[in-house]
């Protein structure tokens, strides 16, 4: 989708949309493809995959650490 198509239905100016897209591009969440004088934007699957993977890892990580913390807290009682 190009930047004007992305803006449809949203109350946002062209420069503001460009700024947001720049942030997303920097974070590798979207990538751009030039077609003549148009620039199309799409989700960057590689960047997104890394972040999804990171989220999945740590969402599962903390519950096991908290189990260990609970054991320690019991131990600290004695």
């Amino acid at each position: 989708m190009n930047a004007s198509a992305l803006r449809q239905g949203m109350d946002i100016s062209q420069p503001a949309m460009s700024q947001h897209l720049a942030v997303l591009r920097k974070a590798r969440l979207v990538r751009e493809q030039r077609e003549g004088r148009f620039v199309n934007y799409e989700v960057d699957p590689d960047g997104l995959a890394l972040i999804v993977q990171w989220l999945a890892k740590y969402r599962a990580y903390w519950p096991t650490r908290i189990d260990a913390l609970k054991l320690l807290l019991k131990d600290m009682d004695q």
């Binding site: 503001a16 920097k26 974070a27 890394l50 989220l55 740590y58 260990a68 320690l72 807290l73």
Partner: protein, 119 residues
């Protein structure tokens, strides 16, 4: 729309746990290295020293992944007394802006490795 920007620069999530122990005790367990290392391995931390600390309330650490591309992140532990005399522990874990920039470079420089990681 500034919200959107904030979310992108701080990709992360939040979890909350209820613990039976009193806040003072939980504080010692999360802030004193000797205790902390018994439930949170020191290898997980990029720096054993906390990034910031509000005694009895909040402590923040920098973490580093143990596998490529070694993403760095910040975890904030916030504690408060709960109604049953125990402690509410809130964990906020987020990839910081600098990490996202590094991530961008990693993805840009090593496409094949990234594809393998994603699989």
């Amino acid at each position: 729309m500034s919200d959107m920007k904030a979310k992108v620069q701080k990709t992360g999530f939040e979890q909350q746990y209820e613990l039976d122990a009193a806040p003072e005790k939980v504080w010692r367990a999360i802030s004193i290295a000797e205790f902390r290392e018994r439930w949170l391995p020191k290898e997980a931390l990029a720096d054993p020293q906390s990034v910031s600390e509000t005694p009895g309330k909040e402590v923040r650490y920098r973490l580093r992944d143990d596998t490529p591309p070694f993403l760095e992140s910040f975890v904030t532990f916030t504690i408060a007394p709960n109604r049953s005399g125990g402690t509410s522990l809130r964990i906020i874990h987020e990839l910081a802006g600098a990490t996202l920039e590094r991530l961008a470079k990693t993805v840009a420089n090593s496409n094949s490795q990234t594809l393998m990681l994603a699989a």
